[in-house]
Amino acid sequence: MINVINTIDTGHEDMIHDAELDYYGLRLATCSSDNSVKIYDIKSGTQTLAADLKGHFGPVWQVAWAHPKYGNLLASCSYDRKVIIWKEAGEWTKLYEYAGHESSVNSVAWAPAEYGLILACCSSDGSLSIITYIQDSGNWDVKKIPAAHAIGVNSISWCPAISADLNLDPLSNKDAPKRIVTGGCDNLIKIWREQGDQWIEENRLEMHMDWVRDVAWAPSLGLQRSMIASCSQDKRVVIWTSDDNVSWTPTILNTFDDVVWSLSWSLTGNILAVSGGDNKVSLWKESADGQWLCISEVAKGLGQAPNEERSTL
């Protein structure tokens, strides 16, 4: 049985673009075309609005929670070309504002906490920014990767810190280089690697035939295998696997009826949620023999009152 345990009225005055749960699953941050970011406390079936953050002057596309060892920090990015890092210390305040892009900032992602407090973001101006907090000075250091994707970058995701570099003990693999995957309007997926104080393009993955909308690096399970999921306006979802983070093998998960907008991995990386333009969310799981199977599909019901949700097993 599947149950809707709770509905949260966000009170946003326009479309929601992202909703993210914090590290412990106790708080929900949402952002919307109404230029605001909202934070809710969710406790056993009830939710309360904890903060309504106003600071952007355009639709807010995405939000991202930092690791709690750095305190309660939330990053948001917007059409207004800005990234804002919010901090809770009694109240939520603006900790840092980054305005280094020339166009809409489409995606933000915090680096694995092991690397420190680092934020990556990407923009319609085609560039990426890596923003690092320097603890000793209390300043933020910015590195920019210009012309990463032609026309624009839509999505960015970090490689987990514990990853599958060959010949390294995956559990003590501290020295694996930092990696980022991006998806852009040039139909490409690119993998970036930090080398010294530079970020270099390590790989470009060609498969999609239209804009890449979302890329998501799967959580690492300490196995000698890395996995990236990508989705595109070509209606396809592709799973990329690698055992050395250098050579990548694509598998088409499925071709959908409509554009696929976003992807989300479950906590342990065993389930992938795919959502698309056909108003459906489907959950996919890899079977023991490497096949991807749809285990569940959540679809928009037709003409049912909110209490009549049904489930079939």
């Binding site: 210390a89 603890q135 907008w261 989300s264 991995w265 108003n279 959540v298 679809a299 019901g301």
Partner: protein, 645 residues
């Protein structure tokens, strides 16, 4: 599985975000904007899959079977060096007894339940666990137990009697009443035949003695046939070959008695004779008396091939399952599982039990025990043995499922720990996100992390607790959380993680700033007893030493205090914001009646003052310069005096 959500919610596109495990949220998401705000219901739906095993009654099963599972892992460890089949059998029986207790609890609860829907679901759980126990028992006979000589019949009969008790009560009643003429009882003959097909020949004979014509020749003949049936016993001193010969001889005799048509006046007795010679049509004719073909299986094996070995039961199962019943009931799940089991197709069995709605409890535990008994061999399409992988993937799924429960997480963890390395990595991912509402819970998590060697997790938890303690303090700006933050940071030390050091630094910096703001040093009790832990971070070291300076000063040990202060100044480990405090602290010592600082010390302080003059206001710096110069004069004078004498 398809979930249909309230329609009005999603005029826009839907997207999904995972919460922990069986919970996720769906929200209307859009990646485009329009020029005019669109009025829509911006609701987020929290969705959860109901987990059967989380109901209180079944939590008992979850916890109790966890104990057995862990004992089994230990037994498997010793089985690597010595045969441990007896132990496995004991544990298999333990599992079954746990299931039976669970069924009892469910029945009890169903009897008390007044709500119809709840009652029905409780009863459906009862059905599920009945089937589970039935299959488990048969598995135990076929794969876990060490059957002497591999002759399975007695065990098979026991299984049939146990799970499909039919006519048992009537038989007992009739025998207890012990009345001649019992055939008047409407179920008399059904009971006698039932006893025969269950292989309870003695009971059948005793019942026949209650028939009013027991002294007739026909009865004597059948009784004699039943009595003289050879029964194989491994300890009987005869070989299976010899037994087979005598048994076939006996059956031939029975057959000839039957063909002599002496029993034609007694159709029931004739039927019994036909059953014991293994006549298929006779068995088929009584099939309708039973709900399933399992009831007949024991009798069929007994009267066709009592010497059958475990792997020879497939044909018997096929024969019994093929008997046409008048009311052709659809093949049940249980049917399929029993058939697959008797056919020896364990892959199919496990596939079938994975379809049961018990959240994988059965598939996980059964696969695990069969795997450890070495009885499971499953090949994939490339003919590679994937048994271990199958067992691991089931245990991982089950473990992760339990980890989602607020209370059962520790049970889940103990499952994941038996599937290294992936299990522990998964555990780590889930545990580091477990909300920690109290120190007690955090400490328990640390104990578990230590038990399973999850040092990185332990460090992460300590650092997060340290950061949170500082956050608690955040509103007041005082030092209330600093002690806790430092204590947690110190715990995060070691193992080369480095996270602990940084956390120490953060907490120490907070303490120094709090002192600067309010003039009271927080966590003095901790700092004065921290000892070698101060070395974890420069700022912490400074804080600890500075605290000691205060102690010495308060105890009026000015010389020692002065010496310590100079060492703090000259070591230059203080952060910029603390220089003013450090330098101004020299003032009262410079002005004291007794000479505290030597001329060398004074020079050092002067040097630092000039280097860090930016951290002091001009007025304060001048005041300090003056005091330093005066002290220098006193010190030189004292130096001359002492050298002059």
């Amino acid at each position: 599985m398809l979930v249909i959500l309230p329609g009005k919610c999603f005029e826009q596109k839907a997207a999904c975000v995972f919460r922990h495990g069986n919970k996720f949220a769906i929200y209307p998401r859009s990646q485009t904007t329009s020029n005019t705000p669109i009025a829509i219901e911006n609701q987020i739906l929290d969705i959860r899959q109901d987990i059967l095993l989380f109901t209180p009654i079944l939590r008992k099963l979850v916890n109790e079977s966890n104990g057995t599972y862990l004992s089994l892992q230990k037994a498997a460890e010793t089985a690597k060096t010595s045969d441990n089949q007896v132990e496995f059998l004991k544990l298999s029986r333990q599992y079954r007894s746990i299931i039976r207790v669970c069924i009892e609890n469910l029945q009890e609860a169903a009897a008390k339940e007044t709500d119809g829907v709840n009652k029905n679901s409780l009863l459906s759980y009862v059905t599920i666990f009945y089937s589970i126990e039935c299959i488990w028992h048969l598995c135990e006979i076929l794969y876990v137990d060490n059957i002497p000589g591999d002759i399975v019949l007695p065990f098979l009969l026991e299984w049939v009697r146990f799970h499909f008790p039919c006519h048992e009560q009537t038989a007992a009643q009739l025998l207890e009443a012990c009345e001649r003429g019992s055939e008047d009882h409407p179920e008399y003959w059904d009971t006698v035949i039932g006893m025969v097909v269950q292989g309870r020949v003695d009971v059948a004979r005793a019942l026949m003695k209650l028939h009013s014509s027991v002294d007739s020749n026909e009865f004597k003949l059948v009784d004699n046939s039943l009595r003289s049936m050879p029964v194989y016993s491994i300890y009987g001193g005869i070989s299976t070959g010899e037994f087979t010969i005598s048994w076939k001889h006996w059956q031939a005799e029975c057959r000839s008695k039957l063909t002599s048509r002496v029993l034609s006046s007694q159709p029931k007795l004739e039927l019994i004779m036909r059953l014991i010679i293994g006549d298929y049509s006779a068995f088929e004719s009584i099939r309708d008396m039973y709900t399933s073909w399992f009831d007949l299986l024991g009798g069929w094996v007994m009267f066709t091939s009592p010497w059958a070995r475990r792997h020879e039961l497939g044909a018997a199962a096929a024969a019994c399952a093929g008997m046409t019943a008048a009311a052709a009931a659809p093949r049940t799940h249980l049917d399929l599982m029993v058939r697959a089991l008797l056919d020896g197709d364990l892959h199919q069995v496990i596939h079938e039990i994975q379809q049961m709605s018990d959240n994988g409890w059965f598939a996980t535990h059964l696969t695990d025990i069969l795997f450890h008994c070495g009885k499971l061999k499953i090949l994939d399409k490339h003919q590679t043995n994937v048994t271990g992988r199958l067992r691991d993937s089931l245990v991982l799924e089950y473990g992760c499922l339990l980890m989602e429960h607020k209370s059962l997480w520790s049970v889940g963890l103990s499952y994941l720990a038996t599937c290294p390395p992936e299990g522990l990595r998964r555990a780590e991912l889930i545990l580091e996100r477990m909300p920690l509402h109290s120190n007690a819970k955090a400490m328990r998590l640390l104990a578990e992390a230590k038990k399973y060697g999850l040092h990185e997790l332990a460090r992460g938890v300590c650092v997060c607790m340290s950061t949170r303690a500082l956050g608690v303090d955040g509103g007041g700006g005082g030092g209330a959380g600093v002690g806790a933050a430092l204590a947690w940071a110190v715990r995060a030390r070691g193992g080369g993680g480095g996270g602990g050091g940084a956390a120490c630094g953060r907490a120490a910096a907070r303490a120094l700033r709090a002192y600067g703001a309010r003039g009271a040093l927080p966590a003095a009790d901790l700092l004065l007893t921290a000892g070698p832990h101060l070395l974890l971070h420069d700022t912490l070291l400074l804080l600890g030493k500075y605290c000691d300076f205060h102690r010495l000063y308060k105890n009026r040990e000015f010389k020692k205090a002065g010496k310590l202060l100079v060492s703090l100044i000259t070591s230059k480990i203080a952060p910029d914001y603390f220089w003013e405090t450090l330098l101004l602290d020299t003032l009262p010592l410079l002005e004291s009646d007794e000479l505290i600082f030597s001329s060398e010390d004074t020079y050092e302080i002067m040097l630092c003052l000039e280097l860090k003059s930016s951290s002091l206001s001009g007025e304060k710096a001048d005041l300090l310069r003056l005091a330093l110069v005066r002290n220098l004069a006193r010190a030189s004078l004292a130096g001359e005096e002492s050298s002059g004498e």
